[in-house]
Each structure stands twice: as structure tokens, then as C-alpha cells.
């Protein structure tokens, strides 16, 4: 009797905390309405759409050559991978043959972009758990990659470099030499981050066994990319359904054990190493030749539909395109990896702490430009 009274008096009150869209660690304009009981999260209501630009609809009004620039702006941290998947879709529809050299340069730059994206993830993930130095180290290395991109494509971010049928222009003369020295620097920088952050006791305490995503849950939600592999599912489109020339390289798929935040972090770190190894092999094999199969400016792919998927830094990107034989696509649908990965957020966050919410969201590595499109 007495105990019940005490319980009544000590009952806690839930508080609604609106996290985002202006919050330093929601990685863009994502908004979560958290119902918290003290520090514990009881309920989550994610809101997306603050960066909706109607990209898919815009695609219907542009000619094929212009759409490449729209794909740049989906996942703005891995522009080249996005360009590549769209160009592959059109090429598949038109049954275009791509010159060997163009394929190699595409792969090298895509892997470089994957490295840049993962480096940014490592840095911002460090910021999420409160370590400020890794982000500086990672931005230093990413800056080198960006200048490499600038030298090759002419732009630091929105490259518009991969074109339908090949690439815009051949790489500069000293490309191989610069890439080799860049790879050496990247390896060194990555080891620094590994030493500084990965096995730090506090970092482990903050990320190990936090936000555990079982393989079953990951598959059910359609999670893809490093977040899926961290749960122990070895699915990588570059291996399972090799596109472009990925079947020519020897690389492994890093897979985690239990799918917690640390696994998601370390799988990405390990993937950087694998990407570097792919780049090294591709640079070694890089053939001479043309870089583009000439096409008409006003492309008119044959009537039909096509679905193409590729492995982005964040997971599996799919492009479903219907062509009605005109110079503009009838419909373009993008399956963005971030969007599907983000759907797990509610299940992952409930019954964790507010501080974990930031870490878990960070470990999913979302890009809002892609989630909202």
C-alpha cells in the first residue's frame, strides 16, 4: 500500500525533445522527435523531407546528359558513384560499349570517392562521440582527394565527369604518379585515425554494443552497404553481381560480427583499405586508349525500362528508368541507400540514451540529400 503511494509520487514525466533539423549532429536537416524519460529514449518519431528538391521529377524534364548533374546532387559526398550508376543505366538501355580505359578511370575515381566519403564518416563519427581531432585528420586527407578530383574532373564536388559512354576527358599526364603518392599518404593518414580512435577505451565504451542491428533485422529493413555488412551479411554488389570491371580486382568484403556502432565504424575503416587496394590494382592495370564512346548530344535511348544497381559508399543505389524513346526519360526512380538505412532508426534508438542517439544516427552514415532527394 505504502509502496504504491511512493511509486505514484515518484512517477517520472516524459519529455519531448525535438532533435533537429537544426542540431549539430543530425548530419544535415534530419529531425527526430524524441520522447525521453530522463536520459532514456522511450519513443522516436523521425521526420524527413527538409531537403526535398524533387530530383526524380526534375529528371523527367531534363535530357539524359543533363540528368548526370542531378545525380551529383543526390548523395553529395559520393558524386562520382552516383554519376556512374546513372550512366550505367543509360548505357545498359542503349547497349553501349565503354572503352577499357574509361572503365578503369571510372573505377579508380569511384573508389577514391568511396575513400573520401568514408574518411568523412570517420571524422564526423569521431565528432559525434566527442573526439574532435580525428575529424581534422580526416579532413586533411579528404582535402588531398578533393584536389585530386579537381585536377582530374575540374571540380571539387559536383564533377559531372562520368558521361554516358565514358568519361569527360582523359586524366592528366601525371595522374598515375600523383595517385601513387596520394595512396601512400592516405594509408598513413588512415593508420593515424586507427591508432587515435578505433581502440580507444572510451570510444569502445561509447560504441561497442550500442545500436546493435541483427542480421535478420538489417535484411528485413533492406539495409545495405557497410551497415548491412557490419551485421555480418557479406553482400557487396561489386562482388556478388560485378558491374563495370570490378570482377578483375582482388579485394575482400569486411564484415562485422554483431552489427553495433563500432562494427559499422570499423567496417568502413576496413573498406577504405580495400578500396585503396582496388585503386592500386586498377592503376597497375590501367590500359591506354579512348576514354569515351561518342554519342549524340540529344540521346534517344530505345523504348524500354532498366534497373541498374551499384555499390555506393552508403550502400546499394538502384536506378529504375523508363524510356519512351524520346530525349527525356519517362520516369526515373532512385533507390537511395541512406533512405533505407535510416528506416531502422526507430528500432535502434528506442531504449537507448540520448547520447547514444547521436552515435547511432552517426554510425548509419546518412546523407540527407539522398534521403529526401
Amino acid at each position: 500500500m505504502v509502496d504504491q503511494d511512493i511509486n505514484k509520487k515518484l512517477d517520472t514525466v516524459q519529455m519531448m525533445v525535438n532533435m533537429g533539423p537544426q542540431h549539430p549532429s543530425t548530419h544535415g536537416v534530419f529531425r527526430m522527435v524524441l520522447a525521453v524519460d530522463g536520459e532514456r529514449i522511450v519513443d522516436v518519431e523521425p521526420h524527413i523531407g527538409y531537403l526535398h528538391r524533387g530530383s526524380e521529377k526534375l529528371c523527367e524534364g531534363e535530357i539524359y546528359v543533363q540528368i548526370v548533374t542531378l545525380f551529383d546532387r543526390l548523395d553529395y559526398l559520393s558524386n562520382l558513384n552516383n554519376e556512374m550508376v546513372f550512366c550505367r543505366a543509360v548505357e545498359k538501355l542503349m547497349e553501349l560499349e565503354i572503352p577499357e580505359r574509361a572503365e578503369y578511370i571510372r573505377v579508380i575515381l569511384c573508389e577514391l570517392n568511396r575513400v573520401a566519403s568514408h574518411l568523412l564518416f570517420i571524422g564526423t563519427f569521431g565528432l559525434d562521440v566527442g573526439a574532435m581531432t580525428p575529424s581534422m585528420y580526416m579532413f586533411r586527407d579528404r582535402e588531398k582527394i578533393q584536389s585530386m578530383f579537381e585536377a582530374v574532373t575540374g571540380a571539387r564536388m559536383m564533377h559531372n565527369y562520368i558521361r554516358i559512354g565514358g568519361i569527360k576527358n582523359d586524366v592528366p599526364d601525371d595522374f598515375i604518379h600523383r595517385m601513387k603518392s596520394l595512396i601512400v599518404e592516405l594509408k598513413k593518414g588512415l593508420e593515424e585515425a586507427d591508432k587515435l580512435l578505433s581502440f580507444n577505451e572510451i570510444f569502445l565504451a561509447r560504441t561497442k554494443n550500442i545500436g546493435t542491428m541483427s542480421a535478420k533485422m538489417a535484411i528485413e529493413y533492406g539495409v545495405s552497404g557497410p551497415s548491412l555488412r557490419a551485421s555480418g551479411v557479406p553482400i557487396d554488389i561489386r562482388k556478388d553481381h560485378p558491374y563495370s570491371i570490378y570482377d578483375r580486382f582482388d579485394f575482400g568484403i569486411p564484415i562485422g560480427e554483431i552489427g553495433d556502432c563500432w562494427d559499422r565504424y570499423y567496417v568502413r575503416l576496413e573498406e577504405v583499405r580495400q578500396s585503396i587496394s582496388i585503386m592500386e590494382q586498377a592503376l597497375y592495370q590501367l590500359p591506354d586508349g579512348d576514354t569515351i564512346t561518342p554519342t549524340r548530344f540529344l540521346l534517344r535511348p530505345p523504348k524500354g525500362e532498366v534497373y541498374v544497381r551499384g555499390e555506393n559508399p552508403r550502400g546499394e543505389i538502384g536506378v529504375y528508368m523508363i524510356s519512351d524513346g524520346t530525349d527525356k526519360p519517362y520516369r526515373v526512380k532512385v533507390r537511395p541507400p541512406s533512405f533505407c538505412n535510416l528506416m531502422t532508426i526507430k528500432d535502434l534508438l528506442i531504449d537507448t540514451y540520448v547520447a547514444d542517439a547521436v552515435v547511432i544516427l552517426g554510425s548509419l552514415d546518412i546523407v540527407l540529400g539522398e534521403v529526401d532527394r
Binding site: 519529455m15 519531448m16 525533445v17 525535438n18 542540431h23 549539430p24 549532429s25 525521453v36 530522463g38 536520459e39 569521431g126 565528432l127 559525434d128 562521440v129 566527442g130 573526439a131 574532435m132 581531432t133 581534422m136 585528420y137 586533411r140 587515435l196 580512435l197 581502440f199 580507444n200 577505451e201 572510451i202 570510444f203 569502445l204 565504451a205 561509447r206 561497442k208 557490419a230 557479406p234 562482388k239 570482377d247 578483375r248 580486382f249 582482388d250 575482400g252 568484403i253 569486411p254 564484415i255 562485422g256 560480427e257 563500432w262 562494427d263 570499423y266 567496417v267 576496413e270 580495400q274 590494382q281 597497375y284 592495370q285 540514451y353 540520448v354 547520447a355 547514444d356 547521436v358
Partner: protein, 374 residues
């Protein structure tokens, strides 16, 4: 007439202390930004003044000149008192912290007690700031601050108690003078470690910057403050940092004493020695900030209650035995170092185990061969 002189003396002393502390804070801000910059391969501030020396001054002017934004739902009285409730205790403890032999505003026999009693008061300010801001992040931050500061007060006091037992005094002058032959860091490495860690938690610096955590509660209790009010919190934070470093130096590292320094030179050169030692300790604090992530609040609590509190009790028992049985100082050092070494060994063993345990497998399907290599 003498009353006027007396009051004038006191006011000028307080103003002098305020000015001195402000200069120290400005220097700390500069040192921190430069040092963090070096850790992160940046230059730090370089534009304002030579090597950016005037950057903190420019920041201070900017802060004071800023508009003081006020949310309409704020509880105004509490909101305006809170910065003072944080600042005044952190300022008051400097009344009795000496910077060299006999260079102190008021030497108290109960110095350490006074310092601890005042430093606890700042919790009230943080909670009040969080509550009055009428912001949910601020409330979360304020509660975090309350939990963190109260629970780390215990190991802090226990570590101080060990020193007080050794010196048989709470007077900081006396404590430093007692370290003439050997510094207390040698006798009480455990106490030093506990005091330093608990002190870091008390001032809320990395890895214990949980209540102002930018990536979680966006600045915690300070989220709604701007301009001059915010700068008062800022001032208090840095004065506290300096105080923790200074107390570490005074209680464990021999204060202004230096081997080979004796006679009248102690008073004058001692100031330099004291500041050199204090800034070294502060650099360690900044170094932590550059390299450590942040703990979570429950991990912080369990670390405090399950690790630091028992260790601090152990430290007191050891000190008691040392005092009671009259052990030689070296035996005490050996025992303390052994305990520390075993704790470190256990931790590092666990870390190595976790390193072996935690890894990512590289999966390579057998069927895929390298085609076209070379």
C-alpha cells in the same frame, strides 16, 4: 581614515585578482587554441596580433558587444543570477590559493575546506541556468551537470583528505612547505590521479564534458545564453580549469618549490615555478581534450562510483596506515605505485584483449579469381 584605507585595500585586491584572473583566462584561451591547433595539424589563431596573441581579446570584445538575446519564456531572475552563481564561487576560491610563498590574498587555516565548500556551490548555478533557460537541451544538460558534479565531489574530497592527513593541515601554505623534502605526488600517486580525474569531471572538460556536450545537448545549460552572460560562464569554466591545475600543483607537485631553490628567491622565483608547473598541468588537460572522446553519463557515474570512490577510500586507508605505523615515505610510494601499476595492467590487459576480440573479418568468396591481372 584607517577604515577607508582598509576598504580601499580590499577593493583593490579584489579588482587586482579579477584582472589577474582575466589575464590568465585570456592566456589560457590562446594556449588552448594554439595547442589544440598543433595537435590537429593546424596553426591555431594567426591573424589578430603576432601569432594570434590578441585573438582572445578580440573574442572578449566581440562577446561583450554582442546582443544579449533573451527567449520570452525565460525565468528572468534565475536566468540572470545563474551565471553569477557559477562565476562567484570559482572566483572566490582564488582568495586563498597562493601563487608563491606568502603571496596570497588571505591565507586561511581552513583553506582547502573553504575551497571545496565554495566549489560545490557552482552546481546550483548550472542547474539553475539549465532550468531557467526553458530549453529542453538546457534542462537535460543541467541535470547531467548536477549528477556529474555531485558524484565526483566525493572522490575529489577524499583525495584532498589524503593530502590533508599527510600535511596535518588544511592550510595550502603549510601543505606546500611540507613538501620540502619530497612532493606528495611521490607518496600519493593514487591520490594525484583521483584528484586529477575527479577535478576534470568537476570542471566538465573532455572526456567528462558531458553537460555542455555540443554534439548531444548542444551546449547544455549554456545553450540559451549569449553575449556577456555566456562569457561569464566561459570565464568561470577557465578559472575553474586553472584552479584545478593550480590545486594539483599545490597539493601534489610541490607548488612553488623547486630543488635547488631556497632562501629569499623562493618567493619571487617561486611565482614563475608555480605558473610553469600549473601551465604544464593545464597542457595535459588540453591534451586530453585533443585526443579523447566523451563518456556517456551513465558510464561516467559508474566509473565514478565503482572505480574512483573505492580507490579514494583505499587511498585514505593507505594514508592512515602510513601515518599510524610511521612507514617510511618510500614504502608508501612503492605501495601506491604498485596499486596504480596493477590497475593500469588490468586496464591495458583488458584493452589488449578487446583489441584481439574486436575486429572485422575480411570475407573473400573462393570462386572469384583475379582476372586479367597485369
Amino acid at each position: 581614515m584607517s577604515l577607508i584605507i582598509d576598504v580601499g585595500m580590499r577593493v583593490s585586491l579584489i579588482l587586482g585578482l579579477l584582472t589577474g584572473l582575466s589575464v590568465v583566462v585570456l592566456s589560457l584561451v590562446w594556449v588552448e587554441r594554439k595547442f589544440l591547433g598543433r595537435i590537429q595539424m593546424r596553426m591555431g589563431p594567426m591573424v589578430v596580433g603576432p601569432y594570434g596573441l590578441l585573438q582572445p581579446v578580440a573574442d572578449a570584445i566581440k562577446l561583450v558587444a554582442k546582443e544579449d538575446l533573451l527567449s520570452p519564456w525565460v525565468d528572468r531572475i534565475v536566468y540572470w543570477i545563474a551565471p553569477l552563481a557559477v562565476f562567484i564561487p570559482s572566483f572566490m576560491i582564488w582568495v586563498t590559493i597562493p601563487i608563491s610563498r606568502d603571496i596570497v590574498i588571505r591565507n586561511m587555516d581552513m583553506g582547502l575546506f573553504y575551497i571545496i565548500a565554495f566549489s560545490v556551490l557552482s552546481i546550483v548555478g548550472l542547474v539553475a541556468a539549465g532550468w531557467a533557460s526553458s530549453n529542453k537541451y538546457a534542462v537535460l544538460g543541467g541535470f547531467r551537470a548536477a549528477a556529474q558534479l555531485i558524484s565526483y565531489e566525493i572522490p575529489l574530497i577524499m583525495a584532498v583528505l589524503g593530502v590533508a592527513m599527510l600535511a596535518q593541515s588544511l592550510n595550502l601554505q603549510e601543505i606546500v612547505n611540507q613538501q620540502d623534502t619530497y612532493v606528495y605526488a611521490l607518496v600519493q600517486p593514487l591520490g594525484l590521479l583521483i584528484f586529477f580525474i575527479a577535478g576534470l569531471a568537476e570542471i566538465g572538460r573532455t572526456p567528462f564534458d558531458i553537460h555542455p556536450a555540443e554534439s548531444e545537448v548542444v551546449g547544455g545549460p549554456f545553450v540559451e545564453y549569449s553575449g556577456a552572460h555566456w562569457s561569464i560562464f566561459f570565464l568561470a569554466e577557465y578559472i575553474n580549469t586553472f584552479a584545478v591545475a593550480a590545486l594539483t600543483v599545490l597539493m601534489f607537485l610541490g607548488g612553488w618549490l623547486l630543488p635547488g631553490l631556497s632562501g629569499g628567491a623562493i618567493t619571487t622565483v617561486g611565482v614563475l615555478v608555480f605558473f610553469a608547473k600549473t601551465y604544464l598541468v593545464i597542457l595535459i588537460i588540453f591534451w586530453f581534450r585533443g585526443t579523447f572522446p566523451r563518456l556517456r553519463i551513465d558510464q561516467l557515474m559508474s566509473f565514478g562510483w565503482k572505480m574512483l570512490v573505492p580507490l579514494s577510500f583505499l587511498n585514505i586507508i593507505l594514508t592512515g596506515c602510513y601515518m599510524f605505523y610511521g612507514w617510511p615515505a618510500w614504502l608508501m610510494s612503492i605501495i601506491s605505485v604498485t596499486i596504480l601499476a596493477s590497475v593500469f595492467w588490468l586496464v591495458s590487459k583488458r584493452m589488449n584483449n578487446t583489441k584481439k576480440e574486436y575486429t572485422v573479418h575480411i570475407y573473400k568468396p573462393e570462386s572469384l579469381e583475379v582476372k586479367n591481372a597485369g
